[in-house]
């Protein structure tokens, strides 16, 4: 398939999204939902267009992406390392699992009063909350993946002269990768949700800030436009992730 047919195929592939948007349009034209809470798609798109053409909007997007990206990055790096370490060294597993198990089910926005004491209301506290919320799927994936590392592979590496550290790096980490990356996909999606919810509560800027203040002001056209932007960014990030994961894991097929 070259570019023309490839484009058509891509269009076909993502047709269900068009269908979803059509459903939205019908919902408001046939008054299935009060336009007071869900404005017609057309007005959302037109205020979305106005919004996207301001520099301020991109400033907000940029700061959100920074927070989300940092939180996610920390979650993947620290969460992945923690999961692998927990599988490789029992003491780490014992010491870290109660902490992880207690913090994961807490609503992160409820922790804002506590993180505010320590980090204030700036980027750091939002990054921390996103990190905490995204970490567990990565940790669970890395942990299960590392535990699934085949014993004979570890032994092979050792008998080929690899040190224990080297074996961890060369055998356990790649073995954990498929499940770790699968956890990272969940984390990626969660990071967008957490980013919006943490910015909604207190913020100077960001997409969650926009959603919060547009919503409180009853400007639902613009608010849903921002929601759509978040969804589009999330979708795009997910597709990039999938392409990346396929590349990293190409040895599997």
């Amino acid at each position: 398939m070259r570019s023309g047919p490839a484009f058509a195929a891509g269009l076909f592939r993502y047709l269900p999204i068009v269908f979803l948007l059509l459903l939205w349009h019908m919902a408001s034209t046939f008054h299935l939902v009060s336009t007071a809470v869900l404005p017609p798609l057309s007005s959302v798109l037109s205020s979305g267009y106005d919004l996207v053409s301001t520099a301020e909007f991109w400033d907000n997007t940029g700061s959100s992406m920074y927070r989300g990206g940092m939180g996610l990055l920390l979650a993947i790096v620290i969460g992945g390392a923690l999961g692998i370490a927990m599988a490789w060294w029992k003491p780490i597993r014992y010491v870290s699992s109660p902490l992880v198990e207690i913090f994961y089910p807490l609503p992160k926005s409820a922790l804002i009063p506590i993180t505010a004491l320590w980090l204030g209301f700036g980027d750091a506290s939002k990054i921390l909350l996103i990190f905490l919320g995204c970490m567990l799927p990565v940790t669970i994936g890395a942990f299960n993946g590392a535990r699934g590392a085949e014993q004979t592979l570890i032994w092979s590496a050792r008998s080929l002269g690899a040190s224990r550290w080297r074996t961890l790096l060369d055998v356990v980490v790649p073995s954990a990768l498929p499940e770790l990356l699968n956890g990272a996909r969940t984390a990626l999606a969660l990071s967008f949700i957490l980013l919006v919810s943490s910015e909604m509560i207190v913020a100077r800027k960001g997409l969650g800030y926009l959603i919060g203040f547009l919503g409180d002001g009853g400007n639902y056209d613009a608010m849903f436009a921002v929601v759509l932007v978040v969804a589009a960014l999330g979708f795009f990030a997910d597709r990039v992730y999938l392409a990346f994961a396929r590349r990293v894991l190409r040895w599997r097929e």
Binding site: S47, F121, D216, G218
Partner: protein
């Protein structure tokens, strides 16, 4: 040798220039807000040429909050300096959060002032409710128990012998959704504020059963607060800040500058100018004191009502927590 002398001179001069620079560094005032435009700080500092001291003795930073509770936390943690609180939240912050150092410094908006707007509680025009007594057994929608309008509603219903849970049930909804809750019959009585209360569809389908004024009379509804420590340390800067604020408010209230006001409101809220043109800063809006001086008596009255409803544990003398000296000084300078 020359080099050494120059270096030495520079080294000696450095602390001096730095000190001078520090003295000139404006005091950063972090302001917490919730609703754009309706909270005046979101539009007061948009026109640099009437702000004499901004960037000189003070500077501002606006921080949006989802509601009052995180704002009180932020005040307590010293993460914001000036916050806009309703009378009810103010009393709770002082009494329950133990923030004895909170001071009312200025007025934001007052309810129930004669000749000005007051927020309505609305029912369906052709619905079953025509008098307050009809509320019995019905569902009322509030923005949250214990909030400023909620207190007004409960107080009025109580005056008419109606108690929550016994005589009516309450559900929670945000102001923007109240219209839909009423028209879709999810609630029988709703509580709305500007600009949602003047939505054409709501005006067409709904009618006002009673108002905040009916319940509370004249009420100091929303005030600016700051911590005493911050005020004492930055008296001069805060006075300058208040002077700019009052000047800007007066400028925006001036009918001559109405076009500019509407433009600013539209830009800040991302809503069309039409959303504001009918009411903002006119007598169809809540009353705002032109000198930003709060009505302490009215404030005390509202808090007493709050306490009588059991939404505040103990009686409280609010005048102890008012420090309008800087606002007064600023207003005087503008005379």
């Amino acid at each position: 040798m020359r080099l050494w002398k120059t270096l030495l001179g520079a080294a000696l001069a450095l602390p001096l220039t730095l000190g001078a620079a520090l003295a000139q560094t404006p005091v950063k005032i972090r302001i917490a807000w919730v609703v754009p435009v309706a909270n005046s700080p979101t539009i007061l500092y948009e026109k640099p040429d009437i702000l004499k001291f901004k960037g000189k003795s003070y500077d501002i930073e606006l921080i949006r909050f989802q509601g009052t509770p995180p704002m009180i936390t932020a005040l307590a943690a010293g993460e914001v300096d000036v916050a806009l609180l309703a009378y009810s939240s103010l009393a709770l912050a002082i009494q329950n959060a133990g923030m004895e150092d909170l001071r009312v410094i200025a007025d934001e908006a007052q309810e129930g002032v004669d000749g000005y707007y007051t927020s309505p509680f609305m029912v369906l025009k052709d619905g079953p409710i025509n008098t307050v007594a009809d509320i019995k057994g019905k569902v009322i929608a509030t923005v949250g128990q214990g909030s400023a309008v909620d207190i007004a509603m409960r107080a009025y219903l109580k005056k008419n012998g109606l108690e929550d849970k016994r005589d009516y049930s309450s559900v929670e909804g945000a102001f923007p959704n109240m219209r839909a809750l009423l028209t879709e019959k999810k609630a029988d009585l709703i509580s709305v504020v500007l600009p949602f209360s003047i939505n054409p569809e709501l005006v067409e389908k709904g009618k006002t059963l009673f108002t905040v004024k009916d319940s509370l009379g004249k009420s100091e509804f929303i005030v600016w607060v700051a911590k005493d420590g911050f005020l004492q340390k930055n008296k001069a800067a805060v006075t300058d800040f208040m002077e700019d604020s009052i000047r800007s408010l007066k400028y925006l209230m001036d009918p001559k500058n109405r076009a500019e006001l509407l433009q600013t409101a539209a830009r800040v809220s991302k809503l069309p100018e039409a959303a504001f043109s009918g009411w903002i800063y006119t007598n169809k809006d809540l009353y705002r004191d032109p000198d930003m001086l709060p009505d302490v008596e009215a404030l005390q009255r509202s808090i007493d009502i709050q306490q009588s409803l059991g939404l505040l544990k103990n009686k409280m003398d609010i005048s102890k927590y008012v420090d309008v000296s800087m606002t007064q000084a600023a207003a005087k300078r503008l005379k």
